[in-house]
Each structure stands twice: as C-alpha cells, then as structure tokens.
C-alpha cells in the first residue's frame, strides 16, 4: 500500500491541496493547469497494466479493430454518467489512487466543489506509423476541436488528462491552444484551423496531469514514433457550488483599480488582475479585449462578486450617467 491509499474517503474530510488565487486566475485566463510528474511511478505502472496493450500491427488488420479489442478487454470499467466521482472507481484501482492524491483532490475541489460528478472517461490511444501502414489508413493528427457541443454556460466542467508514460514531441501529444476556452463554438467546426500562434504540444514526464476547462480547443497530435501513446481523460462537473471553493486569498472587494494605459513601470505579475489581463499570442487586436471582458465575467462568477473588475473594462461599460428626469 502506498502513502496515497490512506486518503480514500469522504471528500468533506479531506479537501486536499487547494489551488491558490493565482492558479485559479490562470485557469480562468488560459483554460488549463498543468502538473508535471504529479502521479507516482507505481500508480503509473499500475495504470498501464490495467489499461492493457493493443495487439501488434498485422497487415490487413484494421486499426479500429485493434483499438476496440483493447478497450473491450482491459481492466478499466464502464461507468454511467452522473455517478459521484469518488464512487466511480474501484478502491485500490490506479484511477482511484490518482483521484485521491492530495494535489488532485485539491484541484478538483477548487474547480468544481466538494461533491464532483463523473461525466465520462476515455482511453485515448494514438498508434505509431506501423499500425496505419498495416491497416491501410493515413497517419494524421486529429482536427482541432472543442469537446461535446455548443455550451453557452458560464459554469464549466473540467477534463483531467492523465499521461501515464513519458511523451516526446515525436509521439504527438495533446495539442491545445491556451485561452480559447471562453469561445462558443460547435465541436470540430473549427477543424480548418491547422495551427494557431501560441499552441502547445504536451511533451511531458510520466504521471503528468493537465486540468482543462471543457471549452479549450485541442486535438491529438500525430504519432511519428515507434511507440503507442496513451492518455486517459476523465470529464467531471460540479453538483453543488463552484464558487469560492479554492484557497481564496485576495478579498475580491479589497482590490482597487490599478492605473491603465499610461503606466510608468512594471506591475506585479502575480496579482489576479495581471494574470487575467495577460493576452495570448493568437488574440485578435479587437476581440482580445472581449476575451478580457469574458475572463472578468467568469472571475466575478467564481468569487461571487458581481462588481469585481480589472482595468476598468466592465466598470466602463456598466457606468450609467444620471438623467435629469
């Protein structure tokens, strides 16, 4: 038994390591949080054993058949959507152990509250060229997309991407575009966008976790190595409040507006306002400002303060001069 197994139990009694203001602000601004090598090697090895291996490539064997056999025969269970997250996986299983790491439990609690609900999970396997050659298919990357369907909510679901083994650039890795999560698009309608400035490719050590806002634009990279690549995704959502669930530090009403445009020097980089007002390389010059507005709206929701603002963006729009009548 590892040190992490003793943490199973009632989420109310063990919130884990809650996120800071800065981490939450970064998630609101960029749509992801990355934790490198967060899962210990023994859990990674257990997961790889439970996930199983696809049968070796054989001429004429369709890739879909090999993938389907892997999913059908491995030890990862089918789980119905709506299941309380902490009852979804068998005690002692690799995924239960991952979810009960203090870092993971704290991040989940911070993002979706204390009683998260399982939506779905999937074992994403990206095969090396020999499988495509044997099956007669083309080895290409996945089109960039936003998961599920058009989602107009301000509230958000979280997707945990778990990388149980090291991923090199040659292996592809998940590609994602920081800061795209607040755009309301229809799944792979944006597939035409092959490359976007600032896109990131997951190159990581074993046990790395990526927590993503459900709306972030992403896709699987093409695997040009000789090794099969695996990534496990779990989608979850809140069942109670999603507001002020992290280690709230800055009291939202105590923040005064900082000078804007005409600024004489560097400003502290780690304030919530500065994090939320940091643009991405792909921002269009006009809609980049609307991205700031939408980040402020999401932060207002999370801190439960409809007056919070940064750099006067919403105060300016909401200011209504008095009338004489």
């Amino acid at each position: 038994m590892s040190a992490t197994d003793g943490l199973l139990g009632d989420a109310d009694n063990d919130a884990g390591a809650l996120l800071s203001d800065q981490q939450m602000a970064s998630f609101v601004a960029r749509g992801f949080l990355r934790f490198d090598a967060a899962v210990p090697d023994d859990i990674n090895a257990q997961f790889m054993a439970e996930a199983g291996e696809a049968p070796e490539a054989n001429p004429g064997r369709k890739l879909r058949a090999a993938y389907g056999r892997l999913l059908a025969e491995n030890a990862i269970p089918e789980i119905a959507p709506g299941t309380p997250l902490y009852r979804a996986y068998r005690e002692g299983s690799a995924l239960q152990r991952v979810l009960n790491l203090p870092l993971v439990r704290g991040a989940i609690r911070s993002l979706v509250g204390d009683d998260p609900v399982f939506d779905h999970h999937f074992l994403h396997v990206t095969f090396p060229p020999r499988y495509h050659d044997a099956g007669g298919g083309e080895n290409v990357s996945q089109h960039t997309h936003q998961d599920s369907t058009i989602d107009p909510r301000l509230a958000f679901d979280v997707q945990i991407m778990y990388y149980p083994h090291a991923v090199t650039r040659e292996m592809g890795g998940t590609r994602f575009v920081p800061g795209t999560h607040l755009r309301k698009v229809s799944e792979v309608a944006l597939g035409r966008y092959q490359n976007i400035r600032g896109q990131q490719h997951m190159v990581c050590e074993a046990g790395t976790l990526l927590f993503m806002h459900h709306g972030i634009w992403h896709g699987g990279g093409v695997n040009l190595s000789d090794r099969t690549r695996a990534m496990f995704k779990i989608r979850l959502h809140a069942s109670g409040s999603q507001q002020r669930q992290w280690d709230v530090g800055e009291h939202p009403t105590s923040i005064s507006q900082r000078p804007i445009f005409y600024v004489k020097g560097q400003r502290p980089a780690d304030t919530v306002a500065n994090i939320l007002m940091t643009p991405e390389p792909w921002f269009e010059q006009d809609t980049g400002r609307l991205e700031f507005v939408n980040r402020i709206k999401l932060w207002r929701y999370l801190v439960a303060d409809p007056t919070w603002d940064a750099d006067y963006w919403l105060t300016r729009l909401e200011h209504a001069p008095r009338t004489l009548a």
């Binding site: 755009r183 309301k184 698009v185 490359n195 490719h201 896709g219 921002f283 809609t287 609307l290 507005v293």
Partner: protein
C-alpha cells in the same frame, strides 16, 4: 484529368487589414507533394497577409465585417479575419 492543381492557404490575421500579423494558418496542397495537418508547424508561413501576396499567393476570399447583434456583443466564437489564398500549379 484536368491539368493543373490548386494549393490553398488560409491565413487568420489580427485585424481586418491585410498587412496585420498572422495569428493562425492552414495549407492544403492539391498537388499531393506536401501533406499539412493540424499542429504541424508552430511558425506561420508569412508574418502578414501582405507578405503572402509578395510571396506569390493570390487572394480569392476575405471574411466580411459584420455588425454585432444587440445582446451578443461580447460573444466570441470563430476567428474573425479569415483570408483564403491560392496558387495554381501547372502539371504536365
């Protein structure tokens, strides 16, 4: 089989001006000599749309500028400034 093949390049710019910076791009090569796909390059092929014209690409479509419907002024979806270019490659 008709002679000639089309190469298409789509550039997404930072505003509606053709000389504004490229923020996104895609290339589809009808000659079959190259195969471009999502995530295949982190560096844009041109710095601006104007640079693509200088590089021999012909612009054949640009996105319209549309007013913002009342109540939806802050809704963002797809990239706004999309420009389609082509090159026609003669084949034997």
């Amino acid at each position: 089989m008709p002679k000639g093949r089309q190469k298409v390049m789509v550039l997404y710019l930072a505003n509606s001006a053709l000389d504004s910076p490229v923020i996104g791009w895609a290339v589809y090569d009808g000659t079959g000599e190259t195969r471009h796909m999502a995530g295949d390059n982190d560096t844009p092929p041109y710095a601006t749309g104007l640079d693509a014209l200088k590089g021999g690409w012909r612009l054949f479509q640009a996105s319209q500028l549309l007013p913002h419907p009342r109540g939806e002024e802050f809704d963002l979806a797809y990239l706004k400034y999309e420009f389609f270019f082509e090159q026609w490659i003669e084949t034997p």
